[in-house]
Amino acid sequence: MSLKNLMICLLALVMGCMVQTTGHAEGVEVLRPLVNALAKGGFKETEAQVGALAATANPAVAPALEALSNGDLYERKSDKLVVIGTKAGADLALTDPLTGEALGTTSPAALTKIKVNNGLRRTIRSALGGLTLMAPDPQVRMAAAGAMFKSVDVEGLALLDAAIAAETDARVLTVMQEARAAVLLAVDAPETTKIEAVRVLAGRGDRDALSILTGVAGNAGTPVALRDAATRAITGINQNLALWDVGQNVWYGISLGSVLLLAAIGLAITFGVMGVINMAHGEMVMIGAYVTFMVQEVIRTTAPGLFGGSLAIALPLAFLVTALIGIAIERGIIRFLYGRPLETLLATWGLSLILQQAVRSIFGPTNREVGNPDWMSGAFQLGEMTITYNRLWIVVFSLLVFAGLMLVLKKTPFGLYTRAVTQNRRMAASMGIRTPWIDALTFGLGSGIAGIAGVALSQIDNVSPNLGQGYIIDSFMVVVFGGVGNLWGTLVGALTLGVVNKFLEPYAGAVLAKILMLVFIILFIQKRPRGLFALKGRAVEA
């Protein structure tokens, strides 16, 4: 599977490099008869032709060989032109193997398929390797060397040696030497050479090297010295990989922590300032996700080109919608319940039921599809870690939201008033701060942040009416753990809980890890009932 992906990558690279070479029109025309000759005769003749094509050392022939290997190369009966055919319904879409030009579609009956067998495929592979190992573009050479390492192409050894001798790019050279080492371990070679090859692979230090070395160490026929060297190398690689595993877990933890942070931070504000638990907080997240869904629906029907920017449009909208709902809730219900936090909890729970059912009635109970824009999909490798773009962006986004909120609270008059009310409500009121306004705006802010959290979560979670429910307990745990009235506490709390949870998961499983976390927090607040970063003093006891 991964080999196939790599081949596709390789093909894409080659195509890219072809665009540069199509300028040499006469070069292409020189190659044309050679390519057309692939259709002549049986396997033997074709094999000879492959050799002839490889001898041109011209990368432009690579697509044809690639297609041949995949069984996609055909001869057009009408003009004996060799073409690449790809399935397009019942017909085949044709492209010119040398120029990449589209040649329309034809029914399979008008074509003769050029047959290929495994022997031929092997020849093609080494031919392709040779072609690309010598390509002028170092990226192509890199990809080719990588492919040869994966496929451990025994027949490519001579080719590799030649390529290594000619190579100038140090990074490409390393990969080529690793590919050569892999081959050397597979063929008959002197023991010292093999030990040297083991050393090269140990330097590579990834899972591929590990599997090759494990093969060497596990083979009963391996000489003792070589086996020792391999075993040592395996230990080294395993340590290295364990380190990367830790890194990967930390990353997963940070990723989970950033989600928790997004969900909890709005709750932290309302709880910190007003001492009120908004049980409908999760539903604000859910509404934010549905706003994203609606924005994408509108974009799909009216301006599909804007899809990449759908999240940018959804963010302010979601903030506005949920902030307004939040202010309405505060003005309509919560302000009548100040000083009765338990009643507030119940009333907002009732609201959450109403909001859930409302969304269920409007949008239906099933999951709604929210798409990832291109820049949010896919993944990249960092050493031995896999990092998906959507997770990466959510981490970045949550930190931005955190920083933005800090800025608002530290640098604006609104923030000053909010902090004043958090610390001493009565004193703030007597200083002329309109605490009811601050309450309403704070509630709006907290809800709005929940809304934009919903935009982010729509990218990684199912958008359904129940989306919010899953977050309320976790968010509250983060707030309790971090300490009420302190946003840094929320940040540290979210990341700590995220990382600890992900470290527990491999040992305990996801469910048990979650249970352990809950138990841990219940025990934690025994020791520090007011969280990691607690406000102290008389004010909090009032």
Partner: protein, 247 residues
């Protein structure tokens, strides 16, 4: 000195986030004494009460009761059972209980859940509550909810509850706050009366009230003792005038 004292504070400090509420406070209350504590806002009066009753743990220093009992190691309930009663600045009575029930709850008796579960009011206890009702002049309102009492009546009810506990030491925080002049005078009489059998520490702002008590006065300032002595002595002290009484 510690051995013979009723309450002994030595070098007690408490701070909240860098703010020093008590700053190496040292203070001695003798058995049977009545002491008035005065001082501006933030002088540490309430924090001192909190430390005595176990609500706040001091960062450093010693607090002993009756010469030998270390109060810093005990919780509120244990300290209350030891014989220290506290009346809060804002009257706190149990508003959804009747006056009678408030006194019954305060009455000295075993405090465990199982003792109270099977508790039956004995004639002696009943008589004691009747006495207290008479003392705090709420006999006619015994069946009313505490919530329906006037502010002054709540203050008195709370003093009555304090007495019901039969403490050795009473801590009384601003008993005259919000009372009429007549009520204030009566309260002073009541406290003097109580002092015949128990030690009392009174925190108060009202200088006429303090004068009416006629007892030794301690002036607190920024968490430590500024001056100590008779009311005339402290009110002529330059520094006390400076920080508290005003010129």
């Amino acid at each position: 000195m510690r051995q013979s004292s009723l309450l002994y504070f030595d070098g007690v400090s408490v701070s909240f986030d860098g703010f020093r509420a008590l700053n190496s406070l040292s203070l001695v209350i003798e058995p049977g004494e009545m002491r008035a504590i005065i001082g501006p806002n933030g002088a540490g009066k309430t924090t001192m009460m909190d430390v005595i009753t176990g609500k706040t743990r001091p960062d450093s220093g010693e607090v002993f009761f009756g010469g030998a009992t270390d109060l810093t190691r005990m919780d509120e309930a244990a300290i209350a059972e030891l014989g220290i009663g506290r009346k809060f600045q804002k009257p706190t009575v149990f508003e959804s209980h009747t006056v009678w029930d408030n006194l019954e709850l305060a009455l000295k008796a075993p405090r465990g859940p199982f003792s109270t579960l099977f508790h039956v009011l004995r004639p002696a206890e009943r008589a004691r509550i009747e006495d207290l009702l008479e003392l705090i002049r709420l006999g006619s309102r015994r069946d009313d909810l505490a919530a329906n009492l006037s502010h002054g009546q709540k203050q008195w009810l709370e003093i009555g509850m304090l007495l019901a506990q039969e403490p050795q030491l009473l801590l009384v925080d601003e008993p005259a706050a919000g009372m009429t002049d007549a009520e204030t005078a009566e309260t002073a009489d009541l406290l003097r009366d109580i002092n015949k059998t128990r030690s009392v520490v009174v925190v108060e702002h009202d200088m006429t009230f303090i004068r009416a008590l006629g007892v030794k006065v301690t002036v607190l300032h920024e968490g430590s003792v500024l001056a100590e002595g008779s009311i005339d002595h402290v009110s002529s002290d330059e520094r006390v005038v400076e920080v508290y009484l005003g010129r």
